[in-house]
Symmetry: C2
Subunit: 264 residues, 2 copies
Amino acid sequence: MTQNSNAALFLEKKLLGSLPGLSIDCVIFGYKNHELFILLLQWKHDNMWSLPGGFIHKDEDMDKAAYRVLKERTGLDSIFLSQFHTFGNRDRIGKEHENSLKKRQLLLKELYKNQPKIIEWLNKRFITTGYFALVDINQTNPKPDFMTIQCAWQSIKSIPSTIMDHREIIEKALQQLRIQLNYLPVGLSLLPTKFTMQDLQKLYEAILQKKLERSNFQRKMLKLDVLVRHEKQMTGAANKAPYLYSFNQEKYDLLLKKGIGLSF
Amino acid sequence: MTQNSNAALFLEKKLLGSLPGLSIDCVIFGYKNHELFILLLQWKHDNMWSLPGGFIHKDEDMDKAAYRVLKERTGLDSIFLSQFHTFGNRDRIGKEHENSLKKRQLLLKELYKNQPKIIEWLNKRFITTGYFALVDINQTNPKPDFMTIQCAWQSIKSIPSTIMDHREIIEKALQQLRIQLNYLPVGLSLLPTKFTMQDLQKLYEAILQKKLERSNFQRKMLKLDVLVRHEKQMTGAANKAPYLYSFNQEKYDLLLKKGIGLSF
């Protein structure tokens, strides 16, 4: 059995058993070495990049579909996904991607020449719901599925060319993440247990993509009353080392619930 | 032409020209006399209440559909709608509403006995995207369409029995509105140009559905640096009157953009 017929069978079963016109896309941000990355798939048939996405089975909750899609596409599991926006513009494909779309449609016609139902299903207008997560890259090991060449972390400073409106979906997710920095604590699963104030600042800077003022940042963070400062080890030159902090788990969880800001 | 056949024609044209399996629901919160209300429609065929909702035309952006749906259903126009969540649970209808659903399906069968396509279209599983707004009730004049008996503001303290998962959609919108109180300013189009600190507090209390402590509230609000305090008119007993405030429009708009909270 060739890889193509394998893929055809897989898709046929998948597609016709899924809700038509609806998809899910996952924006997985990863943090490593003070830099923010995003997980993208590169497709075999046209080398284009896309978010890990898929469809909702006819008898499946949409939220559950998001977890399944991420798992199937990238092997990633146990990541907390949060729905952030549904993209419903009529022209989600975009003028600049029409050539790529035509190429893709020709490929589909070739792949499914005796299955007009599948071609019809795939050529419909799709509305997609975006889910996002922020993970520690060191804790994950994503793997491509049989339709993709690779599943790679790309720096948000140099995102490769993506299909359809995936760039817009990524930007919206980033915007959402940045808004959340204003009213939710961030860092618990992304930093080592003990970290310096500079480590925390670099995480915020990577997400915001801008430099922050050191003393102002420190003041804001300490005011949250969620950090525990550890005693310096007074051996050798250690007293020149910066203070180490950790999160107070209880206070962190409370802050996640009640939010920063005015917090009524 | 009877009202029923009118409705049948209207629906036929609407439904088959819309994206299948997808709907839009609008949660319109209204504020009046220190109380928070929600706009609900009562249906002719079964007297049940629902959110103003509808479908997306095949050639229409989803956001535009939301404005059109609200306008068609309630006559309301020029309201800023903001998308807040997409509801995709498999069992959106809910066990407790199955009887109501059966009744509705019988009605549909009667109404469309010669149009199996419409019945099939309506009986599919639907995923709905919620949009919400907060408006001054005095500035609006909602009117029911031909399918509904009334379009009424209901206090959020006593929401009548609603169809499917509309209660859950309302709760989610309220939750979103309450979170926004923590990081966005509220009140500009809901309060008169000049208002007392108590007026502002009552607005927050109506949204949060809880009493707030007066001096603590005042401190938080003044700290936002978005209020202008006006001089008291020194005539008669006016000096006993509370201070009047208004919003500094420029600072208010800036705060809407950058957010309260840590605001990096």
